[in-house]
């Protein structure tokens, strides 16, 4: 991967207002999640005296039905949502790249087998499997990360396989083969570096869908369990107070929307930046 591509990505990123906005939003949310303790409040401390207080100076996001500070809960919830998104992206990308490269590079029956396997898995509606697995396994954060990762690697594997197929016909790879390098060496030194842009774009889009899956799951009550908050589970409990306290439903959803939106925007900008000729928007 050469420097000009990074320069290209950078200029693409700063050329549009949306790219900058996405970066700012994600930085703010990540810092907020990391430094959530700076609000000086505990996300799970209940206080019946200030139950369902609308947003104001004391509680910027108001308080929920147990009198818990909603901003603090949103920040700690963001920790879980972002962690799940990031961790399951890492796992899914790892599996996807491994399977995609092996399938694309070695080809033959192994390739057919792996690709048919992916066809079968993707022809079962993924959200149903998601629900099922989260019932089978206990819904801890670790398990949710694993389940989401297991449902997301197929897409990346397909893209990586296609990219590997074109890369392995490149002359430098053919020379490396002719000079007798081992398959592992070729993949490691010549194929993987060429895959970096594809991996980055795929991973960015993956985070977006992982966060979306986690919040849907938590919203339905199958995700991270109370009293711990995530944006999805906060929306779940907000549903019951929609008439008295609509702000409870407003904030977590807005946070999910902005986060997912930012990752999607970034993913597209990266795609255009890495392949300027292919896909000018």
């Amino acid at each position: 991967m050469n420097r000009s591509k990074w320069i290209n990505v950078r200029s693409e990123l700063f050329a549009s207002g949306m790219g900058v906005a996405a970066l700012v939003i994600l930085t703010v949310f990540t810092l907020g999640a990391i430094f959530a303790f700076l609000t000086g409040r505990d996300p799970n401390t209940m206080d019946a005296m200030v139950r369902l207080t609308p947003p104001g100076a004391a509680h910027w996001f108001g308080t929920d039905d147990y009198g818990r500070d909603y901003l603090t809960r949103a920040l700690y919830g963001g920790r879980v949502s972002l962690l799940v998104g990031f961790a399951s992206m890492i796992i899914a990308t790892g599996i996807g790249v491994l399977i995609g490269v092996v399938s694309g590079y070695f080809g033959g029956w192994l390739d057919s087998l792996l690709m048919r396997m992916i066809d079968v898995i993707t022809s079962i509606p993924s959200f149903l499997i998601l629900l099922l697995l989260s019932v089978f396994l206990k819904p801890s954060v670790g398990n949710i990360i694993l389940i989401i990762a297991l449902l997301m690697w197929m897409n990346i594997a397909r893209i990586i396989r296609a990219e590997t197929l074109t890369l392995k016909e490149r002359e430098y790879v053919l020379y490396a083969k002719a000079s007798g390098q081992s398959a592992r060496g070729i993949i490691w030194r010549h194929i993987l570096p060429g895959l970096v842009p594809t991996i980055i774009v795929g991973a960015t889009n993956n985070i977006a869908s992982a966060i979306m899956m986690e919040s849907s799951l938590s919203f339905l009550g199958f995700g991270v369990q109370p009293p711990n908050a995530t944006w999805g589970s906060m929306l779940n409990s907000a549903q019951g107070y929609i008439a008295q306290a609509p702000y409870l439903a407003l904030f977590p959803g807005l946070l999910i929307l902005l986060t997912v939106l930012s990752f999607n925007v970034l993913g597209d900008i990266l795609r255009v930046g890495f392949e300027p000729k292919l896909n000018r928007r």
Binding site: P125, L131, L132, I242, A249, V260, N264
Partner: protein, 316 residues
């Protein structure tokens, strides 16, 4: 053409087979012993073994699988563990509600997406395109359950215009009542579909505008809007058919969350109840049924695509 259809059909059969294996395995691996749901406190151990034998659960797993498959092929999806009703009957009971909701959502999305996509494609990188692009971005990024809650708050609680729950008002038996209940979930689902449709139509509009016939129309002095809505539209419309085929997979399982939020009595909310109650035969039935729809949808999309655009050859 015929060869292609036959080959695609032949690919579908093993797919269905493996999907059924996966479904069966999932239920087999599920925690809990199905025999226990038949056990009463004063039963003898021999009785339990007899039930196990009668249910065929003492046979090896692959024998159980083929026995199960034989019943599935005959249309017998078994009985719910919770209410002991036939699974297939329950699914078919719920099908019209889901199909009606999904069908109207997809239709609404297509009707909106065609003009939006054409306008965006024709005004590439100008403000109209950017605005439509932003809406499409929000469409793929917004959690639909949140959108559902917001619309419910606005239209049902604040404005009192529409009902927020269910499909019918108790005691009212009019079609208009069902439509009124359907408007909000339909809007939510349509917004979800809209984004991907708009992007698809936009990019195919951009492609079409480069074609020779467009240049010729310009040379004849046709107005841009005439070219767009008379000539380009025709070419853009055909691939949309394939989008519909691809959406068929969502027909069943795509609405789990939305149906649950609005308590819409479709297959999605049936699936939720099944998962909550650990009702394995019902879960398996729904999974199998929706996978079948997904596979058939893709098959139809592929076949239609090759009809619409014979230049495209499907590879194995």
């Amino acid at each position: 053409m015929r060869q292609l259809i036959v080959r695609r059909l032949l690919q579908t059969v093993p797919m269905l087979f493996f999907v059924s294996v996966v479904c069966f395995a999932m239920i087999k691996l599920a925690p809990g012993d199905p025999v226990l749901s038949f056990v009463t406190p004063n039963m003898h151990a021999d009785d339990i073994e007899r039930i196990r034998h009668n249910l065929g659960l003492d046979k090896p797993a692959y024998v159980q699988y083929f026995l199960w498959l034989k019943e599935i092929v005959q249309g017998d999806f078994g009985y719910s563990l919770v209410n002991h009703q036939p699974v297939l009957g329950q699914i078919l009971d719920r099908l019209p509600a889901t199909a009606g909701l999904m069908g109207s959502a997809i239709a609404l999305a297509v009707l909106l997406a065609i003009p939006l996509g054409l306008i965006a494609g024709a005004n590439r990188n100008r403000w109209a395109d950017k605005l439509i692009n932003l809406v499409a971005y929000i469409g793929i990024s917004v959690p639909l359950f949140w959108l559902a809650i917001l619309l419910m708050y606005l239209f049902a609680i604040k404005l009192h215009l529409l009902p927020s729950m269910g499909m019918r008002t108790i005691g009212v038996e009019s079609a208009w009542d069902v439509v009124k209940h359907g408007i909000l979930p339909c809007m939510v689902l349509a917004f979800g579909f809209l984004a991907s449709y708009v992007r698809y139509i936009r990019s195919s509009t951009i492609g079409q505008l480069k074609e020779e016939y467009v240049q010729i129309q310009y040379a004849f002095g046709s107005k841009k809007s005439t070219i767009l809505f008379r000539h380009v539209l025709k070419h853009v419309l055909l691939p949309v058919i394939t989008l519909l085929g691809m959406s068929m997979g969502d027909l069943v399982a795509g609405a789990i969350v939305t149906e649950t939020v609005f308590s819409w009595p479709g297959i999605g909310s049936l699936g939720m109840t099944a998962v909550k109650g650990m009702d394995y035969p019902l879960i398996m039935g729904i999974t199998l049924f929706s996978s079948l729809m997904l596979i058939l949808g893709n098959l139809i999309a592929d076949i239609l695509y090759s009809f619409v655009d014979p230049r495209i050859k499907l590879k194995g």
